[in-house]
């Protein structure tokens, strides 16, 4: 094929493959499982922005779809929605700059978020929205929403992004936000430049408007002291739980996180954790930090005051176990507790992890309605409670919104349960969409051919942008 020869000239023959076997391994995400696959025809590995530019020019000439991809495939869908070229960006993984004084960092797109996070930590800086495992790249964290810890005060990664170097679908290299003047004497220092904010166009876009090759983050100063606490409530006190979420988020604690008891049901069943108190249904975890003991004690007292006021009871050790105990939950697969949970799942359901909904984002005031609806439909289809271990995982964020995920353990090969799950998804989506809820992960479609219809004017504008920037519709086609 002529296109293969051309691509080989750009990146070298060892960085291009048309092998069916190699292409096949780029087709999956854990979220969709192996039941759904669109295999790329060619995998190309780029090492420089210029190579990415030339690859896109070639793809445009041949009108071949291009899907950029990093290392992992946990949330969202890392594989292509159509065939064509899979642009593997894992080799572009350098940290370009850490500016301690101005608290900025710039990295190549394939750089592991953890790699950057650790280097920042060593220099007394912090990117609070830590991911799960070293696989997610610094750019994947901005082009998909990402649920993790530290969002309550700082929002998602996207809120910390200040600039991109991006290769447009036609191959033109652009720099937006602080990257627009990154090479100047003052260097990259602020997202907002003269004119509208173009950074936003490329966030949460799944690579549809351009291939991001460099990213600039604003960083935070690493606080000296940390504390972790958790409180619990019975199911009947869901309104109290909501008040706690709202009040603690309003004062911007570092992190406020909520789970229901199903997170621990499997481990309880296996005798791996002590039984939770009988009236423990919702657990809220608080992470606070401070510069000195007095400040830390004050924050801890505030947590206690809010929780006690709304009828919460203290649950020792659990919050601490997320992070303070090595290995932390930053890398779940490494954690023996997670391994135990997976073993329970395999034994009880033959299952593997599957995220049912990743990234529904709604006002905190809607938490009781959303949770109750998830539970109601879940019960209807028999996927609520033991042994399905369907877990609610909520991240209370600044702006008084909740980004939640709901995950379950299900045998991906068991069509009966997969069908029930699909019906669960569809029924919830229909209700949620009509209420105005949005999904911010796995941007449309969450599953192939799914059309999200409740934000029509914004989608229409995005489609116009897409048409203008990508006249041949080559870049991540199917996303918009």
């Amino acid at each position: 094929m002529e296109i293969v020869k051309t691509l080989e000239k750009i990146v070298g023959p060892d960085s291009v493959s048309t092998s069916d076997t190699i292409c096949q391994t780029y087709s999956y995400s854990s979220q969709l499982g192996k039941a759904w696959v669109t295999k790329p025809d060619i995998v190309v590995m780029a090492e420089t922005t210029e190579q990415v530019s030339r690859i896109l020019q070639v793809a445009n000439r041949h009108k071949v779809p291009v899907t950029p991809r990093g290392a992992c495939g946990v949330g969202g869908h890392g594989g292509p929605l159509q065939g064509g070229i899979l642009l593997d960006l894992t080799a572009m993984e350098k940290i370009i700059k850490i500016d301690v004084e101005n608290m900025k960092s710039i990295a190549e797109s394939g750089c592991s978020f953890f790699k950057l996070s650790q280097e920042l930590f060593k220099k007394g800086l912090l990117l609070p929205t830590a991911e799960y495992g070293p696989g997610p790249s610094v750019v994947a964290s901005a082009t998909t929403p990402v649920n993790a810890f530290g969002k309550t005060r700082y929002g998602r990664n996207i809120d910390l992004v200040e600039g991109f170097e991006v290769v447009l679908p036609t191959g033109e290299i652009s720099r937006v936000g602080s990257m627009a003047y990154a090479d100047s004497d003052m260097a990259a220092y602020y997202r907002y430049i003269t004119g509208p904010d173009l950074v936003g166009l490329f966030t949460q876009a799944n690579g549809a408007f351009g291939v991001i090759t460099k990213i600039a983050y604003r960083c935070l100063r690493l606080p000296k002291l940390w504390a972790f606490h958790s409180y619990y409530w019975p199911l009947g006190k869901i309104d109290n739980v909501t008040k706690v979420l709202m009040e603690s988020t309003a004062i911007e604690m570092f992190d406020v996180h909520i789970n229901d008891r199903w997170k621990y049901a499997g481990l309880e069943h296996a005798g791996k954790v002590p039984p939770l108190p009988e009236d423990c249904y919702f657990i809220i975890y608080f992470t606070v930090n401070a510069e000195n003991d007095l400040e830390l004690k004050g924050k801890e007292q505030t947590i206690e005051d809010i929780c006690r006021k709304h009828g919460g009871a203290y649950l020792p050790d659990i919050a601490e176990s997320f992070f303070a105990v090595w290995p932390t939950f930053f890398s779940p697969v490494t954690n023996p507790i997670f391994s135990e949970l997976m073993n329970v799942s395999r034994e009880t359901t033959g299952g593997n992890y599957l995220s049912i909904f990743d990234g529904p984002t709604y006002p905190l005031t809607w938490f009781p309605k959303v949770y109750t609806k998830l539970m109601e439909i879940g019960k209807k289809y028999g996927i609520w409670g033991f042994p399905r271990l369907t877990v609610f995982d909520g991240f209370a964020m600044k702006s008084q919104v909740m980004a939640s995920q709901t995950w379950t353990f299900v045998d991906l090969k068991d069509q009966h349960w997969m069908d029930l799950l699909e019906r669960y998804r569809n029924e919830f989506r229909e209700w949620y969409g009509k209420k105005g809820g949005v999904f911010q992960s796995s941007l449309p479609p969450f599953v192939p051919n799914y059309v999200w219809t409740n934000q029509p004017s914004a989608h229409a504008l995005l489609k116009r942008f897409k048409g203008l920037l990508d006249p041949n519709n080559i870049l991540s086609p199917g996303t918009f």
């Binding site: 060892d14 960085s15 493959s17 092998s19 069916d20 076997t21 190699i22 096949q24 391994t25 780029y26 999956y28 995400s29 854990s30 499982g33 192996k34 995998v43 590995m45 290392a71 992992c72 495939g73 946990v74 890392g78 593997d88 894992t90 080799a91 993984e93 750089c111 592991s112 978020f113 953890f114 790699k115 650790q118 930590f121 060593k122 830590a130 495992g133 070293p134 696989g135 997610p136 940390w226 992470t287 930090n289 992070f323 303070a324 090595w326 290995p327 932390t328 930053f330 890398s331 779940p332 697969v333 490494t334 023996p336 997670f338 391994s339 395999r346 033959g350 593997n352 992890y353 991906l412």
Partner: protein, 400 residues
Amino acid sequence: MKDYTEMELKDFKESVTLCLLCAACFYRGPIIPHNWRELPPHEWSSPLRKCPSFEYYRFRSYTAPGRLTLATLVFQDDFPITDDLIKIIYTCTGCGMCNEICPTYLPLYAIQAMREEVVGSGNALPKPLPEIVGNIEQFHNIFRRNIRARVLEGLPAKGEDVYFSGCYASYRVPNVAKATVEVLKTAGINIAHLGDEERCCGFVPRYAGNRSLLKELAVHNVEAMKKAGAKRVILSCAHGYSIWKNDYPKIVGDLPFKVIHIAELFAKLIDEDKIKFAKDIKQKITYHDPCFLGRHLKVYDEPRKVLRSIPGTEIMEMERYGKWAYCCGAGAKITLNCYPNFAGAIAKERLFEAREVADTVVTSCPVCFDHMKNIAKKEKIELQIYDLPLLVAEAMDIQL
């Protein structure tokens, strides 16, 4: 994920599944960056570069999740076993880094199961594996040799302490066998050797996916040890040790004798004051953990203890050491034989890493030793390379 070697392959095939694809096992970042308060302790300070085949071939297919995905497809969806697939499966070095990081999915077991599937389905193995298997069947060793290290010939065929020298020390690096024997003799151990009754331990068949040959060899070697009256089987080869320790009991049941690696035995003999060093070794030394002694059997401290006990030595650690040690590239003797360029590149990286901190690298496996020595010579890397028995013998002033 259960160890498939403890379950039927058919059951494993049904239960294997896609992993989370989180990439913790191969991607270039720490698995845990910090815990907000501090950097991880060494136990959780994983290195940036972890998976040798990903670092060399770079496509995600050559990673544990890539291989696990292919295993799932082959086992459950009749995905074809092509030459490309065979290459992907056999370029895994078996170093065990992925299992170390991911106790949840333990991807190495799926890779091993895939190799059995390749063999079972009658596909051609990568060259020269068929030839090596033929050598084992005909000559009982991987090298097609008849004459083993001279030092072994003079040993009694029966005894309580029996040295299982293995193919490498017997035929390829006989000085390792000689050093092992002489050190043990000097320490007062009446060492025996099975002679012609010693057969290849079955490591290559095991990692090539030929379980039936492994079984045959296991049964023979264990029976021979019983007949020899062994109470303790001593190995200097990390590969052989892992087979004796991890695999043989699963095949023949509990062994009626102790199995010990020379590094463990040396450490014990030093404690008992039976090994006495006669001269200083004034070298800056770093220790390369063989994958099959380290990650596969968790023997990390004893060889370091031995090195520290040698007068004059200055012990330095490489950036990747202990449970995070990088493979030397020998790759379960599969990559070494089938993909020498890959094996060489990985060794080169490891040797440069050693040279960053030391002028001498010591390992505890004749396979790793031989491979690193050959690559250092080829690449003109100025580094002294020892297998542990050789250095101990030198420090004891034993003339080999």
